[in-house]
Amino acid sequence: MAIWRNKLRSSSAARCFVLAGFVVLAACLAHGQTTNSCMNCHSALPEPLGLSQEKFSQDIHAQQGLTCTSCHGGDPTSDDPDKAMSRKAGWKGKIDRKQIPQLCGTCHSDPAYIRQFNPSLRTDQLGQYRTSVHGKRFAAGDTKVAVCTDCHSVHDIRAPRDPRSTVNPVNVANTCARCHSDAGHMRGYSIPTDQFAKYSESVHHEALALRGDLSAPTCSTCHGNHGAAPPGVDKVQNVCSNCHTFQAQMYEKSSHKAAFQSASLPGCVVCHSNHGIRHPTDAKLGTGPDALCMQCHKPGDACDQARAGLLSSLSRLDEAIKGADQILGVAESSGMEVSEARLGQDQARDSLTKARVTIHSFKTDLIDQDIQAGLQIAAKNLQAGKDAMIERNHRRFGLGMSLIAIGIVLVGLRLYIRKIES
């Protein structure tokens, strides 16, 4: 620094300087990797200029051998800040937000370059980004939208499969929510900020974040990640159908598909919501607060009657299964063997699940088929339970008989004792 040079008048100061220089050089040599002199100072500085060695060692770029200068430019071999951070050496300083996608893209859109590190890594992220809502707004000059570092972090970027990564499926919703749930940040945009709150109560969130089921969707599953954009009102069921194939197939052939499409209603979302998808209950078919059908249909019309019939069929099957379960439970706790029937109950429950999927066809005869199959199985299991109870009663009868015999012996003994002692 210039200050030091001014103090180098006396030879003792010069000796200090040389000594210091040797010490620093020695320290650098002792370090081993001397190609990253940046960390010598920046690991000791406070935020935001500082970056701890520990944090940076977690970064995937650092682990692949890339260093500060790979993005920031400059001279990594020099300890002299002026030389290290000189424009001549290509130093870019703090990367301006507007430059970030381009900067990341220099490597990540170059297949030949990325192939050297991970041949199966995609290189279309920048292209996708440009098609996204974020990318389009960014191109129009909006710097509040997300850029690469907002989601991936910057100096401790982890691979997506790392559970600590901000873009690991389990963490994606939290990452998106950083902006999308911040009312202050989202002011000026015309979209709501309750998506994350709603999603947190959904079955998908429960499956993914709480049960660790990675097949459950998060924000990027339905909206895309780099090319993030809402699917579009008429394309919603395409997205849902990727996992919920059967429901989608049935819906496709149903009367509701055409009806919703012509009314520009977003398919599945009409009944199931988009972010706050709860576990659907039979109450959706009812007439209470959760009732869905009655939001469009009029009471008394053909559809309402079909709805009522459907609800009663489902309730009947549910009751039948519960009834069989109950008697099997009693039989089991009385010591009877009913494991075969218990297994059969699983099949009955499968039928009920199937019936609830078939609802999406809105064809009562198809749904009835599943329900009848389930009712038959439940009836068989109920009978098995009853048979077990009959067997149980036989045992009690046998017990009664032997207790009577025992009672007779006791009376006899009593009389005999009394006789010999009289």
Binding site: S215, D350, G398, S402, A405, G407, I408, V411, G412, L415
Partner: protein
């Protein structure tokens, strides 16, 4: 025991006591011995159903067909391959527990609940299932196809 003079009620009383005691003892012993004797006779089905089970008879399955059988308290899937050999897998889907089935057209194991697909080695290849299906050993014994749990290495 009581060799004293017998008054009129005595023989009657002795008879009554004798009947009670004798009859009661006989009846009660019978009620104890009968179950024990029945117990001693081994039941018709000798296997325990825990470690191994007879899944099917030799002539039951055709090539490229599957059969659900009971293994302990869970369902199992027995498949006869096209070449006549057998394989057996657990039939409980690792996603949410539905019972899987063999699809002759796809030659794969399929779960109807959420379209999960497993290959014939039980590996989950498509759809939601997070883990493969357990594979069981299959042996032929006489005219029976016997499925057993894999021996621990």
């Amino acid at each position: 025991m009581n060799g004293d003079q017998l008054s009129q009620p005595e023989p009657m009383r002795r008879r009554v006591i004798g009947i009670f005691l004798g009859g009661g003892l006989l009846a009660s012993f019978a009620s104890f011995i009968y179950p024990v004797l029945r117990y001693l006779v081994p039941p018709a089905v000798a296997d325990l159903g825990g470690d191994e089970v007879v899944a099917a008879k030799l002539t039951e399955l055709k090539p490229n067909r599957g059969k659900i059988f009971r293994f302990g308290s869970r369902p199992g899937l027995l498949i006869m391959n096209s070449d006549g050999t057998y394989r057996a897998l657990s039939a409980t889907c690792t996603h949410l527990g539905c019972t899987v089935q063999y699809r002759s057209d796809l030659r794969e194991v399929w779960c109807a609940c959420h379209n999960g697909i497993y290959d014939l080695n039980g590996r989950n290849v498509s759809g939601p299932p997070p883990r493969p299906l357990d594979v069981f050993d299959v042996h032929l014994r006489g005219d029976e196809v016997v499925v057993s749990r894999k021996r621990e290495a």
